[in-house]
Symmetry: C2
Subunit: 357 residues, 2 copies
């Protein structure tokens, strides 16, 4: 029998101490949590009425993150955002978090504390409480599974399956920034011709994306969106999910895709088409949502109340139309559906690296 | 950039197909599930009143399971039982399950279907519905994180922290069977002198343990137990959790430890002390609970209604007493606190392989 690797080097009792430290530092909970970290299960008081939202995301080292492009705090931050963004895409309010870690021998207790620091930095502003988890050794590679719960009013949940022909397609924020930031991190020469403030902005968008929790809740509360999804996988892949599940097609206007000045500067310096960054870049964690045209004016009024822009980028078409791009010259071309590959080859139909379901 | 390994060999689209198959085969849900597999989050209708229970367990290949001692169906079965048992230990009713998998290149789609088959075989009889999950590639080793929710009446949750001095200590079923079964699987020579039916029984107890959901619910509903925990980590380690969290000590009567005839036969053939198997063997998934002495008669009446025996194995003592064993000759000795090491060295203070919190 092979000897099990110790995740904490020589000190065999240090994990117990670490969990006590994590619990003391991050496990403070309010009166709705009847039992937090330390029992067989967490016990919480559910919200009266409404719906309970449940989501889980697994992040694997070398697939979703690498230690040379992110600190442990960044890794934790992004792991929390992946889940917060799922709750945001349903129009919900995030509530409780459970953290399961498989820890390889080359991670220290300090690394894990930093990871939790990032998790809490991203999720505490949204009122999320850490209520439980599990830790295990891993022979190789750090694996992080976050489970998050949320709540939403019963009839106000935003799903992927109810976009209708004629609906306008909106996105929050700007697209492609996270991919540009990652490329800058992976290829230092890529920074040539990119101003330091643009580099800082793009790398920040990759390392510390903003989950659009407030925006999702506004859309749900005002009954404005017919469908919604968060852009974790890239615009083309995530739009394809909405279209497939709603039984519709879509036309995207390339000229309307929201691009940051930093992303434009990066694309220009690299001789890349910024539209490709916007269509294929993943992990922007913006929301894509569809709106009936008669609600357009109301959506645009509300957009002025939030601190990120909302852009109308196209329109829902019948299923037979497929997914197409309308270029500024009026011509149409088929939208290549790609799924974002964090650290693998990026290409069409490359859809199996990570699949939330 | 290294190329990401494909979890499904040559076929890059086969994971998407697999998820559709899994969803069709195992994702059927009832009217309380407003949105199951396939959206950003699951949406369920919470129970009115009562408490929501949340638990997550991570199982890592080589740490918690090995492919040479269990089929994929067994691995799935035990992964579900680990979570069902946590809900049982709180006196709750299990409800919803999310499954996150990191899949290495040497796993096939059929392997994963078998894993889900085991998951559902263990959890469907308890009314659990599969509502979501996540899949990812893994460079090496299969990692399974199951999240399960449950519900319980508000004032009826069984925690670890409320055992009182003088309470009697009970366990369900028999102890040590799972460890004996695992040892038989790991060492074929160990089967010498063990009757085939005993071998089948012990291996079955290891591969397909029974979560004591019904028993936990009866204890909670009738307000019988002061504290409870499930025996995943072994009697000595799990009793230590209850004592630590309740601020008490405990005296265990070795003559009262419930042992199956198969476990006794195995210990005799191997010249092992069966008491050690009972104290140190993990993954029996029996419940340990404490009861006020004035409720002893009621507990024993109720025990006759369930299909597993309940045994009184000791008594809660003051904290200063520590944890001790009383031997048949009346002498006391300190209880060695061990934590079950699935495939590593087993010894005192070896507590970091897996730690639910």
């Amino acid at each position: 029998m092979p000897s099990r690797p110790s995740p904490f080097g020589k000190s065999r009792l240090s994990e117990f101490r670490l969990i006590k430290t994590l619990c003391r530092r991050f496990g403070q909970t309010g009166p709705r949590v009847l039992c937090g970290i330390g029992d067989d299960t967490a016990v919480v008081r559910p919200n009266a009425g409404g719906s309970l939202l449940l989501t889980t995301d697994l992040l694997a080292e070398g697939i979703h993150f690498r230690r040379d492009t992110a600190t442990f705090e960044d890794i934790g931050y992004r792991a929390a955002v992946a889940n917060l963004s799922d709750i945001a895409a349903m129009g919900g309010t995030p509530q409780y978090m459970l953290v399961a870690l498989a820890i390889p021998p080359n991670c220290t207790g300090t690394n894990i504390e930093q990871l939790y620091k990032g998790l809490m930095k991203a999720s505490r502003p949204h009122g999320v409480e850490l209520v439980g988890g599990d830790t295990s050794a891993s022979a190789q590679g750090l694996f992080i599974t976050i489970t998050m719960t949320g709540h939403a009013a019963r009839e106000r949940v935003l799903t992927r399956s109810s976009a209708r022909v004629g609906d306008l397609i909106f996105v929050t924020g700007t697209l492609g920034d996270s991919l540009a930031g990652l490329q800058l991190l992976l290829n230092d020469r890529g920074a040539a011709g990119v101003a330091p403030r643009d580099r800082i902005y793009l790398v920040g968008r990759h390392r510390r994306p903003t989950p659009r929790v407030v925006e999702g809740r506004i859309l749900a509360r005002h009954g404005l969106a017919t469908a919604a999804i968060d852009l974790s996988d890239g615009l083309s892949g995530d739009l394809a999910h909405v279209c497939e599940q709603s039984g519709v097609g879509a036309e995207i206007h390339t000229a309307a895709l929201p691009l940051s000045s930093a992303c434009l500067a990066y694309a220009s310096a690299q001789a890349l088409d910024p539209i490709d960054l916007a269509l294929q870049g993943g992990e922007d964690y913006e929301l894509l949502f569809t709106v009936s045209p008669r609600k357009q004016a109301r959506v645009e009024r509300l957009a002025r109340r939030v601190d990120c822009r909302w852009s109308c980028i196209g329109v829902i078409r019948p299923e037979s139309f497929g997914l197409r791009l309308r270029r500024p010259d009026g011509t149409l071309r088929r939208l290549q559906i790609t799924s974002y590959q964090h650290f693998g080859n990026q290409g069409p139909s490359d859809r199996e690296a990570a699949c939330s379901h």
